[in-house]
Amino acid sequence: MSNTQSIEVQAVLPLACPPCPYRILGRCDGPIDNKTYLMQGKSMVGCLGAKRRGFYFGDTHEKFVPIPSSSHQHRITLPAFIPSIRDGLRVTWPEILPSSLFAVSLGKIINQSGNLAFETIDHLRKQFNLPKLAKIALIGTSKDYKLEALWKISDREKIWERIAHFGFEFVTSSTYSVWDKHPRADQIRNQDRNFQTHDILANLGAPTIPFFFPVAESDYRAVFEWLQDRSDIDKVAVLAQFYKSPYRFAQFLKNMRAIQNAAQRQLEFLVVGVGQKYKIEAIRREFKASIICSKPFQAALAGRIIKRNLEEEGPNLLLPRKDLVIPNIEQYVRCCERIRQQRVSAA
């Protein structure tokens, strides 16, 4: 046996051994593979060092967060489509808005050091030139570096309190990244951080929707157990952004089915980051779902107009780019409502 083989064989043992907190809690069946198991660095907890693993377990779990008596989801009505707003275009909004609700990602409201860049929802509306009546939901998506910066200062700067009292129509939990090829300790920790931010925000009275990122079978069990303790939750969020190819999208649907099965109750999904019509139809065929994407804005930024089939056309050189946002949103709203109606009729 070579030295490398010896290291690999021995290295498998610590995560699978009794002192690993995740194993004791039934959250881990041991390493997924040697490569992820051996990964180390400042950007991860990793599985090799018990001290580092224990330290970050403590960081995640040393504070008591009560199970919320309610996630206040009865106050949330999800439309068929919610446009995700972006900066970069100074849109002149009409009196009757093209959407009853807008979404903004967490990454857009926090600065490089993780602190809130806005103090009030009016300040945020002003940034996007939205009228006072525009309702905004906060989606907990962001680049990892901002999420990590936010985590560091979240208690000291009372970030979650400030978000909960910001005046959003609803908020989602954070989306600490769970990657397939990441150490198991990091996958579980980030799932736990997403669970925990849901509870923190719900305890503060914000209508909150949790994001789920289960990878292994034990993660689906954890979702089930977590939902069992929160019987009022019937809306959950999933991120479709990284499931682009047809093969990956098929996997995404499979994962949605697994979450629905694990929940053992009828769920309404908030699907973030899906823009193609066939994908929206496929999701709606099987699930009660609301769609969030920024494609109407992104297309407008590129001078493109969205057609009835949600394909892009252009660039359109006749209209200023800012004037394309509203018709693009309207196409999405109409299309998603049509798809929703078709499902209702079929049912």
Binding site: C17, P18, P19, C20, P21, I24, L25, K42, S43, M44, G49, A50, K51, R53, G54, F55, Y56, F57, G58, D59, T60, H61, E62, K63, F64, V65, P66, I67, D144, Y145, E148, A149, W151, K152, I153, D155, R156, K158, T175, S177, V178, W179, D180, K181, D199, F212, F213, P214, V215, E225, W226, D229, V238, L239, F242, F252, N255, M256, A258, I259
Partner: protein, 114 residues
């Protein structure tokens, strides 16, 4: 349902949360108990080792020394601790082991809210 297969290049460093400012921590409260469901690591622990408590899913409290999970706080004490934490949520559980794991893996532990 991960975000994708691989993390992006140059992922950011991770850091623990900065401590929040607790204006009035309240009186110190301590609990002494023998570990429930001790792990193999508990058998090797020495008396006087610094210990911490971590609360998992708002229900179970796990005892750690030097990064290793030793076992759980028994249910009765865990309920009391959680009740106290519900009143003063921003406090952390720290303490020491009071007995050697070699004598019994059900190590005697003192954890205090501070």
């Amino acid at each position: 349902m991960s975000k994708g297969p691989n993390p992006p290049p140059n992922p950011p460093d991770i850091n623990p949360r900065d401590p929040d400012i607790v204006e009035d921590p309240g009186p110190k409260q301590c609990w002494t108990f023998r570990l429930d469901e001790p792990t193999a690591a508990a058998a090797n622990v020495k008396a006087g080792t610094a210990a911490t408590g971590s609360i998992y899913r708002s229900k179970r409290i796990m005892v750690f020394t030097e990064g290793n999970a030793l076992g759980f706080v028994p249910d009765a004490e865990a309920k009391e601790i959680i009740k106290s934490l519900q009143k003063q949520g921003n406090r952390r559980l720290v303490g020491d082991t009071l007995s050697n794991g070699k004598e019994s893996p059900h190590v005697l532990v003192e954890l205090c809210l501070n």
